[in-house]
Amino acid sequence: MSDDRIFISTDEPPAESAALVDDFTPSLITQANHHLCPGCGEPIAIRAAVEAIEELELAERTIAVFGIGCYTAFAHNLDVEVVQALHGRAPSVATGVKRMLPEGFVMTIQGDGDMVNEGLQEVLHAAARGENITCLLLNNGVFGETGGQMTTTTTLGQRTKTSIEGRDPHQHGHPILLSDLAATMDGAAYVARCAVNNAGNVARTKRYITRAYESQMAGAGFSLVEILTMCPTGWFVDTLEGPDYLQDTLAPVHNIGELRTP
């Protein structure tokens, strides 16, 4: 490393206010000032999802169905058509949309609480039917929006507000590995799991999402991309510790990789 590195002290407020050097907002996000926490992984995942829509030129045929969780704030921020569904119910709503608009590109955006707790049967039935939709699961292993309680994807030993000493299999049971389960369904064409805790994983997330979209557009059947996302607030860790916590807590159990390809 050379010696002309720039050091920015954060001990004191900066002398000058920050200047906007460029606008990095993807064109399909209308309002970049979201209300999610600093260090949250969900905006990164949603960014990858909309960038892939743009790159595949799907914007004018997309209908995105939102579940209920922190990511729901983005339902009102996107420049693609949106249906807001109930907690857990997005795959059925997306099914109704897709059956009436077979030429459309139909996706869901859901969290682990939404998809794996409240709506487990919906996503599995959609997968088994081979419903030609793409479901995105933002898995942070907690109910973020309600303040960090245990979900079915919380890993053993993980501390949450409702598993204070860590998730104990005798008391709280074992986590559900949703993508592994969905990958066993014959109706599923593409199933993959990735994460947004470092640049390499973000690039991989975008790649997997793109493949899922392509599989839907080819009429291959159900596709699911599970994205492990940071939730420093719900995990009760410092913002900067989020990526490492994800790596140490969620990633060893919810393994990253493609689980089923067409």
Binding site: T62, H76, L78, Q84, S92, V97, M100
Partner: protein
């Protein structure tokens, strides 16, 4: 063009739905709703429509919700327990301002409250129509789709075991006609990338700004819509002999038809009995009930439950006349039907006992 045929209520309603332009149907089998689902499964493919045997009622109502967002006429339905499962969605679909027809083929009359009170959470109501027989069900099915489209709201058709399974000669419109044009508010993806893509949400269509979007304003709009429905939907009602009646008998649905017959017979034998049969259960025909009761000494309510519609009758008459309950639960051993008490001599006896 319309053919006259001897049809089971379920088939007649299915045909009427498709004739009205219904192109998406989904449900989960449950007696006595099952046959409606079966007939829709046979009919919809003939008009390039979609019928799905949903994996549960939760999923059925979700699929219907999704189909409704595309502007094609969609319907679903069930019975008691299944309708209970759907209530969370029915509430939100109402607030999302989506047209949807819901066929509630109830077991008996115990579900009047569930149907008319908005059985789910929140401060909402939707239209409810209760036919008395197969020909009326055919008419009201058409009306249900028309009202749903016109008002962008769920409309429930409340039938029962008797209606679902009785064969009657009816004029059924042909299913060959075109479905109505897809309305402008519907989604098809095409506004994506325009800077103003559409959103259909029970939380309103506000845009997230610095302050977030105004949810309060959306709920105020929902409330205004309920008021507009109440003021704008003319409730249907069937009234007879109330001008000089000493006793007015109120009843609805299949049971209402038997009560009406009992009243006709009692009239023939010189008793001053009138009847009123609310057809639209929400908005309730309060004014018509008030008018029917005006000259009488008493109103009697016959319904096969512990007394549910009687609350609406009491609210309509506001103490102007005494309101007496002459119904009661009526179950046969199967638990499915309208029950053994749907017999005219028994009904007549109760009416005579209630005569002032």
């Amino acid at each position: 063009m319309s053919d006259r045929a001897l049809l089971e209520g379920s088939e007649a309603m299915a045909r009427a739905a498709v004739a009205a332009g219904c192109r998406f149907f989904t449900g989960y089998p449950m007696t006595p709703f099952t046959e409606l689902l079966e007939h829709m499964a046979a009919l919809l493919p003939q008009v390039d429509g979609v019928c799905m045997n949903a994996e549960s009622e939760l999923e059925a109502v979700g699929m219907a919700w999704g189909a409704a967002t595309t502007g094609h006429l969609a319907a679903t339905g069930s019975t008691g327990q299944g309708l209970s499962l759907m209530q969370e969605s029915l509430s939100e679909i109402t607030n999302a301002r989506l047209p949807l027809v819901v066929f509630n083929m109830a077991r008996g009359q115990g579900d009047y409250f569930q149907a008319t009170r908005g059985g789910g959470h929140g401060d909402y109501r939707h239209i409810v129509l209760a036919p008395m027989d197969v020909p009326e069900a055919v008419e009201l099915t058409r009306l249900a789709f028309d009202l749903a489209g016109q008002w962008r709201t769920p409309v429930m058709v409340l039938g029962d075991y008797f209606l679902a399974h009785t064969y009657q000669a009816v004029s059924v419109p042909s299913i060959d006609g075109a479905a109505p044009k897809v309305p402008d508010w519907a989604l098809n993806g095409s506004t994506g990338g325009s800077g103003a893509a559409k959103i259909i949400s029970p939380l309103g269509s506000g845009t997230e700004g610095e302050e977030g979007f105004d949810l309060g304003a959306h709920f105020a709009d929902c409330a205004a819509h309920i008021q507009a429905l109440e003021a704008g939907v003319e409730p249907l009602v069937d009234v007879g002999f109330c001008d000089d009646a000493e006793l007015v008998v109120a009843a609805y649905g299949s049971v209402g038809k038997f009560v009406r017959y009992a009243c006709l017979q009692l009239r023939d034998s010189g008793h001053r009995v009138g009847y009123i049969r609310p057809i639209t259960l929400w908005p309730f025909p309060s004014q018509a009930v008030q008018d029917a009761a005006a000259g009488s000494a008493k109103v009697a309510v016959y319904e096969q439950n512990m007394g549910q519609m009687i609350d609406d009758v009491r609210l309509a008459t506001l103490g102007a006349v005494p309101v007496e309950f002459i119904g009661g639960p009526s179950w046969d051993h199967s638990g499915f039907g309208i029950g053994p008490d749907i017999n005219v001599p028994d009904i007549s006896e109760r009416i005579l006992e209630a005569m002032p």
